[in-house]
Structures are given as structure tokens and as C-alpha cells.
Amino acid sequence: MLTFKNVSKNYKNRAVLDNINFNIDEGEFVFLVGHSGAGKSTIIRLIIKEENLTSGSIHFAGYDIEKLNKKALPFLRREIGVVFQDFKLLDRKTAFENVAFALELSDHTNREIKKGVDYILDMVGLSSKSKFFPNQLSGGERQRVAIARALVNNPHILIADEPTGNLDPSVSWDIIQLLNKINSWGTTILMATHASDVVNSMQKRVIALDEGKIIRDSEGGYNE
């Protein structure tokens, strides 16, 4: 459902991604690992067309991302749930409103939204803080709001960029369990991470990047 074909990305003539090829099937759980600066977030930015690729092609669920016009782009993005590395929460909206925003985009009724958001906030353990604004939440809590927003729309694929980066081990483990559960319900998951212990314990498919190149793509653990 997600295919990278000879994808390269340059930032001002500096190659950040170099000839990337992979295919992720429906229902897979894939880790994207690599040193800081290896290009993990760049791959995610290309998928939602936050950045344009330099060469090659990306296909997602029938869309050719490169050829997608301006009108169709919002619809692609609604089908992909992204947990951004820097959360990208709306500072002027409460936790509830941030999550609800994703549902409002796809014409759900107010009652459906209330039900859906309450459910998902409960799932990430933030029910009691739904009326808090992001600056009243801890880093980990903000991260969980970001996860809730990415999940609430039942996306085809959930892309999580360091979703456990700010969480203590027990909470981060909860999050991983949560992702695993969602994956078992059929949602495809692509998760960029540094956390080798998580990768090791999960024994899922791992795509390892180094300086913009794929150096490994196989199931199993993660050895630095």
C-alpha cells in the first residue's frame, strides 16, 4: 500500500535521501531506524507531501503522491495519521479540540466527534485533561494528544515519528502496546524511532537508514 521507488531528496544540492526503495503492505508493522539526521523524518515528510521529492516516485493507496494536485492533497492527508516528532499541536486549542479537529475535517457530526474523541483520549489516558491547552500539559501528555489525533480518524496507516521520545519507559511501553493493538485491528504502522530496546522486544520488520541510504530491511532486532 506504500511504495517508495528510487526516491531521492536533496536539500539545496545536499542529498538527504539517496535512492530509497521499499514497499509496505497493508497490516504491516514497520520500524524505521537510524542515527539522528539519517533521514527518517524526511521520509515521513515526503509521504504526506510536506516536502516534494527530488526524483523517483511514491505511491500510497492508489495515489501517486508526486502527481497529486493541490485539491486532492487534503484528502490524502486525512487517510494518513501522523504523530509528528514535534507534535504539531494547535496551541490555541484544548487537548479535546486538537483531537476533534481531525474528525471535523471529515464531516462527522458533533455527537460522533464527542464520542470518538472521548474514547481515544481515554485510550491514551488523558480523559481528565481534555480541557487543558498544550502549554498546560507535560511533554509526554502532549505526545499522547498527538497520538490520539493521529488515531482518531481510523487512518489506513499510522505514521509515528519518535512517538515515545518524551515518555518514561513504562508509559512508552504502554504506547507501544497501544500501537500493537491498533495494528492487530488492521491498521498499518510505520514508526520511526531511536529506541533499540523497543525494536528488539517487538521483533518486527526494521528498515535501517544511514546517511540517506537503506542499509538493512529485514525482520528482527536492532543492533546499533
Binding site: 510536506e50 492527508r77 494547535l90 489525533r149
Partner: protein, 308 residues
């Protein structure tokens, strides 16, 4: 569709409320703009009404020799009518002149009134026009007629310098006023765009995030554009109220001539009356302009973020 409209309105409301200070600034700028523009418009309008009053009150009076034959007097009238520039020609006969004279004198000096000889008073034409330039044209013609007459015309009363002064005043005040209105409108428009751009700038990150999670351009920009239009409406509304209060104060004190002694100078001039219909029309036009300016400013400011 309804849901989307409802949500866009909800976000408009949230922007305005959660952005208190900038909303206040935007409304203040809008109010000031419409206030100043209205003040100048009304001033230009009022000055024109007042000066027009003077124009219509300006007259040329031709005094004939009491012995001038009726036929001559009528031929002069025909000359005046032929110009096509007179709006009113009033003939004051000897008798009428006497009656008028008597009326004035009786209150002041009854003995003198009895002593006046009816035949000593000259008949006259009081000529009015709708504009000062017409008045001047007629005056020139009359001077020529007088030059050719054999004493049938005694005198021509025409305050040339006053008339010319008024004429200049009308055109200067009108053009300065219109110039100022245009100048202020441009300045205000720029300030409004900048103010709204600052508001939108403070939301630039939000705009980017909303688009990343799948919001369409309309959905993102809708609240900002409605917000701009809203500021326009509120600005017009507040400035209209302030203006109306000022009008009330001036018009009542004008009538009593208590508060503003200067105005007593103008006693007798009708204060320009603005009918309710005219006022509503003006407010309607201003609200329309307010909506357009507000919405366009927002659109200009936000289109920068939508290109990406």
C-alpha cells in the same frame, strides 16, 4: 455543508475571543477608519449644503429709476430670462418697495415713515440663480445693459468679492475634503491589511499544522476571512454610533447655541438634515465597504500561507 459552515463560524468566534488583544486592535483600526472617513464625508457634504444655501441666497438686485417705463423694465427681464441662468426673478414694484420700507421704518421711526414719498422709491428685480457662476454671468450682462441705458437703471447690487470668495471656498473645501478622504482611505486600507496580517501571522504555525492534518484551504482561511469581515462590520457599527452621538450634540447645541457660540454665526442657516433613509443608506454602503475591506485584507494576508 451545514456542518462545515457551522464549524467555520465556530472557529471564527474562537479566533476573535482567544485573540483578544489583536481583535481589539483590528476593531479599533476599523472604527477609526470609518469614523474619520465619515467625518470628512459629512463635513464635505455639510459645507456644500451650507455654501449652497449661501449660493441660493445670493442675489443681484437691479434698481430701476422710479420713472423708468414699464416696457423698458420688461425688456430687461427678457434679457435676463434669455440667459437661461436665472432660477428666480422677483419684481418688487414701487408699492411693494414702499410697503417693505414702511414695515421696517414703522418699528423704528414712525414719523419718517409718514414722510416718505411713494414715487421716490425705485422698483427692482431680485434675481437668484442656482449657482454662483450663473449669478456672475447675469451680473456681467446687466452691467452691459446698464452701460447702454439712458439712466433707466439706477443701480446694480452685486457683492462680487463675497460671491467670488464663497465660490473659491466651495471648491477648495470640496477638493481638500475629497483628497483627504482618498488619502485616508488608502492609509487605512494599508493599516487594516497590516493589522490583519499580524493577526494571521500569529496563526501561521496553526495554519501549517491544520493543512498537514488534512484541512482544505477554504476550511483554514474561512474563519480568517469572516473574521476580517466581522471587524469591518463592527468598525462601521461603532463609528456610526459615535458619529450619531456627535451629530446629536452638535445639532441640539446648534439650535440652542449654548455649547458652541461660534455656531451662532450661522444662525438662520438650516443645519443640513440627513434623513433616516439617507443615513441607513450610508451605513449600508459603509457596512458593505467594511465587509469587502475586511475580507479582502484577510484574503491578501492569508493567501501567502495558502500557496505552499
Amino acid at each position: 455543508m451545514m456542518l462545515k459552515a457551522e464549524r467555520i463560524l465556530k472557529y471564527t468566534y474562537q479566533h476573535i475571543v482567544r485573540n483578544g488583544w489583536l481583535s481589539f486592535a483590528s476593531i479599533a483600526i476599523m472604527t477609526l477608519t470609518f469614523f474619520v472617513i465619515s467625518i470628512f464625508s459629512f463635513t464635505v457634504y455639510s459645507v456644500n449644503v451650507i455654501l449652497h444655501y449661501y449660493e441660493s441666497k445670493s442675489q443681484i438686485i437691479v434698481f430701476f429709476n422710479p420713472n423708468a417705463p414699464i416696457s423698458y423694465i420688461q425688456s430687461v427681464k427678457k434679457d435676463i430670462i434669455d440667459t437661461g441662468k436665472a432660477s428666480n426673478i422677483k419684481y418688487v414694484s414701487k408699492q411693494q418697495a414702499f410697503t417693505n420700507f414702511e414695515k421696517v421704518l414703522k418699528t423704528q421711526n414712525p414719523q419718517l415713515a409718514n414722510a416718505v414719498d411713494l414715487n421716490a422709491l425705485p422698483p427692482s428685480y431680485e434675481i437668484s440663480t442656482t449657482s454662483l457662476s450663473n449669478l456672475e454671468d447675469i451680473a456681467n450682462i446687466l452691467y452691459k445693459v446698464k452701460a447702454q441705458s439712458k439712466g433707466e437703471i439706477n443701480n446694480i447690487l452685486y457683492f462680487k468679492s463675497v460671491v467670488q470668495f464663497l465660490k473659491k471656498a466651495v471648491s477648495i473645501i470640496t477638493s481638500i475634503g475629497i483628497g483627504l478622504i482618498i488619502f485616508l482611505s488608502i492609509i487605512s486600507f494599508v493599516i487594516i491589511i497590516i493589522t490583519i496580517a499580524i493577526t494571521i501571522n500569529s496563526h501561521s504555525e496553526d495554519i501549517e499544522i491544520m493543512k498537514l492534518v488534512g484541512a482544505t484551504d477554504t476550511y483554514v482561511s474561512g474563519p480568517f476571512i469572516i473574521e476580517g469581515a466581522f471587524y469591518g462590520i463592527i468598525g462601521v457599527f461603532i463609528s456610526s454610533i459615535i458619529l450619531y452621538l456627535i451629530y446629536l450634540v452638535i445639532s441640539t447645541s446648534y439650535r440652542k447655541s449654548v455649547l458652541l457660540p461660534i455656531l451662532s454665526f450661522f444662525q438662520g442657516i438650516p443645519i443640513p438634515q440627513y434623513s433616516i433613509l439617507l443615513l441607513l443608506e450610508i451605513i449600508g454602503i459603509e457596512i458593505f465597504i467594511g465587509i469587502v475591506i475586511g475580507a479582502i485584507s484577510s484574503f491578501i494576508a492569508i493567501s501567502r500561507y495558502l500557496k505552499k
